[in-house]
């Protein structure tokens, strides 16, 4: 079997072994979304105004918290260091892992955001824009979160440090996505911004795995 198939097969088996892992971020999202009207007002107009932004932020947080420990168990088990002996560049393997993580953990999360949208009375056009921006932006967000996860490997009790160091880097993505949502509400053209968002994601997905693999090598080299 090729190495790529082996990695994908392993990810599928891990999900089958721990199916709860997929549901936890979804559960988190729904909880946070439920807090919003409680903290704000049951008035549906107000909710509709800020709804899409709240869903975006909540999805972002759910993604971050889920990706925080992406490499941790493989690292402690000694499986991660075995990746270095496989006949592929480490950055490529990291990319595969991130793709698999996005497909199996992030995509399901995105697919339930319409439910959250309904709960916050988000208008339909905005809902479409929400889905589209999440779909296009989350690859970049996943890569950056993976970098945070890799940098904090092996540091004990780092808590959510991996999340914290990466969050400033999400700002451009969040702003671009917000721009699309605003235009979707107005009804104006969202395509140029979506294209920009997509370009950012592609570049991030290509370059960030290199930094992630450097961080992984660094932490493997520091541990016995």
């Amino acid at each position: 079997m090729s190495i790529e198939k082996r990695m994908l097969a392993r990810e599928l088996k891990l999900i089958a072994a721990r199916p709860g892992d997929i549901f936890k971020p979804m559960w988190f999202l729904m909880l946070v979304i439920s807090m919003v009207p409680l903290a704000l007002a049951p008035d549906s107009d107000l909710l509709a105004e800020i709804g899409s932004a709240m869903i975006w932020v909540a999805t972002l947080l759910a993604l971050l918290l889920n990706t925080e420990h992406l490499f941790q168990s493989d690292f402690s088990d000694g499986v991660l260091e075995q990746w270095l002996f496989l006949d592929r560049p480490l950055a490529w393997l990291v990319g595969l892992k991130l793709i698999a993580h996005w497909l199996f953990h992030v995509l399901p999360l995105i697919l339930i955001t319409p439910i959250a949208g309904l709960m916050l009375s988000v208008p339909t056009e905005v809902l479409f824009a929400l889905l589209a921006t999440l779909f296009v932006a989350t690859p970049a967000l996943t890569c950056f979160s993976g970098l945070g996860a890799a940098l904090t490997l092996g540091s004990s009790r780092s808590g959510i440090l991996g999340v914290l160091v990466m969050m400033p880097l999400f700002v451009p993505v969040v702003i671009l996505a917000a721009g699309v949502l605003i235009r979707a509400t107005d009804g104006s053209d969202t395509l140029p911004l979506m294209a920009l968002l997509g370009a950012f994601s592609v570049v991030a997905a290509t370059l960030v795995p290199i930094a992630v693999s450097a961080a992984i090598r660094l932490n493997i080299g520091g541990s016995n």
């Binding site: 082996r6 088996k13 072994a17 088990d77 260091e81 270095l84």
Partner: protein, 202 residues
């Protein structure tokens, strides 16, 4: 299988960790058929040396060449089994080995038979004892074709029978042209090896 003649050449290797000098100006040549035991007290740098030769630690000083090529290009010739379990607890024994080795099922099952885990292929690693988990990691020695074996404390948690099996496997590996480096606190009886003593460098 028979291996092409292999050679590891280590020149002037030096390493410092945690403000301590572990070894310096370490030079040696290892050829096909050799078994080397790296010995020394705790903290002398045995694991560090093994991991450096395996390419996991960056070389601070000196050079390592495998068959005249730089170490970084030859990592697929090395099979490294370290301290850590190297298996994922939530997966079955077979799934772990499939991922790590890429060998087909029949070969893996036969390897599991060789390490005394016959019939355990569908067991989750977390259901196994420590010794069984260790055997699962060692099973790779029966199904991966890499000429250079680097084993850090391979005898941990193994019973007498398994120790003999492992020794026999190492012996047949080097007889086929492989090289083996290992560390252990229990002196192996049935292996024909040389020793490298690491001590404290002042």
């Amino acid at each position: 299988m028979i291996f092409e003649p292999a050679q590891i050449e280590i020149s002037e290797l030096g390493c410092e960790r945690d403000d301590r000098l572990l070894f310096e100006n370490l030079s040696m040549k290892l050829e096909s058929g050799q078994i080397l035991r790296v010995a020394g007290p705790n903290g002398a740098g045995k694991t560090t040396l093994l991991r450096t030769i395996a390419g996991l630690f960056d070389i601070q000083e000196g050079e390592i060449r495998v068959n005249r090529l730089p170490l970084k290009e030859c990592l697929d010739q090395i099979l490294y089994i370290g301290h850590k379990p190297q298996v994922t607890r939530d997966l079955t024994v077979l799934d772990n080995l499939k991922f790590l080795t890429g060998a087909d099922e029949a070969r893996l099952k036969s390897a599991l038979g060789d390490v005394g885990l016959k019939g355990y292929h569908d067991s989750l690693v977390k259901e196994l004892s420590q010794g069984q988990g260790r055997r699962c990691a060692l099973a790779r020695l029966w199904c991966v074709e890499a000429p250079i074996w680097i084993l850090d404390e391979p005898y941990t948690a193994l019973d007498v029978e398994m120790v003999e099996t492992l020794d026999a496997q190492i012996t047949s590996h080097v007889n086929a042209g492989g090289i083996c480096l290992f560390t252990t606190h229990q002196l192996p009886q049935q292996l024909d090896y040389q020793t490298l003593e690491l001590g404290h460098v002042d």
